[in-house]
Symmetry: C2
Subunit: 248 residues, 2 copies
């Protein structure tokens, strides 16, 4: 890892402002939050479940996976964190991380001391509320994933995941015209959907055959938005993004 001193990027501020209104004072205090910038190469672990942390991360650039090890040595990915997300904000109040964090792509993170964050929350309740809300949304996404892996068939699970990622990336301005960079290998998809690598491959072929998507070289294109949403039983409400752009 490579460390640099810096100040908070726009990523977090943008995220929080999508949840609550911030005054100029709050915005500038947020910008002045002292952070340590951290660069992590692709594939590297950022922290492990059980780690006791005195700071938490903000994703500035890149894709981060949240995962848990299972007995057989396999991983279950429980969520993906994108720029603006704080994948271990839970540690602010609970002290121990309860999942592994790994950089899927090369990532730029900001590390914020819990003490700094806590005093910021004390001074500006609106910021505390925004952070709280962001953890609620994260919880809501976990809950939807329970439904996804618990009750849908392989093609539906993948369709749902693609809809979710497209929606979130659009909200970040990282997708346009139903095209986005989604740098996940089929192994990542398998670990996120609770399927085997091989069955993911075959299910992707099925989605292609039905002309719903193309997905090559980490680039996802959705050809039939409503068709994919139907296949994945996708309803964007649980993501709580302002204007989802999916018609039911």
């Amino acid at each position: 890892m490579l460390f640099t001193k810096a100040f908070t990027s726009q990523a977090l501020a943008a995220k929080l402002e999508s949840l609550v209104d911030l005054s100029t004072e709050e915005r500038s205090s947020l910008g002045a939050l002292p952070i340590r910038q951290v660069d992590v190469p692709a594939g590297e672990l950022i922290c492990r479940a059980g780690d006791q942390l005195s700071s938490c991360f903000i994703v500035l650039e890149g894709f981060v996976s949240l995962s848990k090890e299972t007995a057989a040595g396999t991983r279950q990915i429980t969520a993906f964190a994108l720029p603006g997300d704080m994948p271990d904000l839970l540690g602010l109040h609970l002290k121990v991380a309860n999942h592994d964090l790994a950089a899927i792509t090369p990532c730029r993170l900001a590390s914020v001391e819990h003490s700094d964050l806590r005093s910021l929350c004390r001074t500006f309740p609106a910021i505390a509320e925004a952070l709280w809300t962001s953890t609620l949304v994260a919880g809501s996404v976990f809950e939807e994933w329970v439904v996804n892996v618990g009750s849908r068939k392989a093609t539906s699970r993948l369709a749902h995941l693609f809809c979710e990622m497209m929606t979130r990336l659009e909200a970040l301005g990282l997708a346009r015209n139903d095209v986005c960079d989604l740098p996940l290998t089929q192994v990542h998809l398998a670990e996120a959907t609770g399927l085997s690598r091989i069955h993911v491959n075959r299910s992707l072929q099925e989605l292609r055959k039905q002309e719903l998507i193309t997905y090559t070289n980490g680039r996802l294109t959705i050809h039939d938005r409503t068709g994919l949403a139907q296949m994945g039983q996708f309803d964007p409400d649980y993501l709580h993004v302002p204007r989802p752009g999916w018609r039911t």
Copy 2:
């Protein structure tokens, strides 16, 4: 439903005090929180996904399920709420419920206006922190459920669920000597684990055959704690209860 005016029971206060230390003033303000008491008969819906609520519930007595409908008309249960839990606290900041709430047993609930709760949080930051923390724990449980339904086999899923419920009920003083009332039908278990009703039945027989549990008439007895924990790959950390009482 049957409504009565009343004041907050000990259930919530006890729950919050397990998460943060409260001053006597905070404790009494919490007790003075105006609530409307609601009694719900077994099997009845409490609210639906998508409802816009101006108040939220505290479970005082009984078992509540959180669930989402899927396309085929089936349900996926995403969590169980026990006394002291606030299963739709999410609505405090996000306005819309994102799951159905249903009374599994006859339930006594307390309904608290969001405005009252919000002003209480504003006056006592420690209470806000405790509530925030409780939502973080709930999120942590969702995350573990993703792992459970995403990566474990039938018997493991059930074993894990039983370990979780036993741990939580113990923390509430509702279990003793590895015995607790767990008023869930096999259909509930199926909906919570993402299995079919029939396979739940057969997996339960397997757990009994291995002399890990008995489970009849809504009463769970764990005969082999470590064996069950191993089968379910259960590690109580994610529940964030003070003293779990499971040896690794």
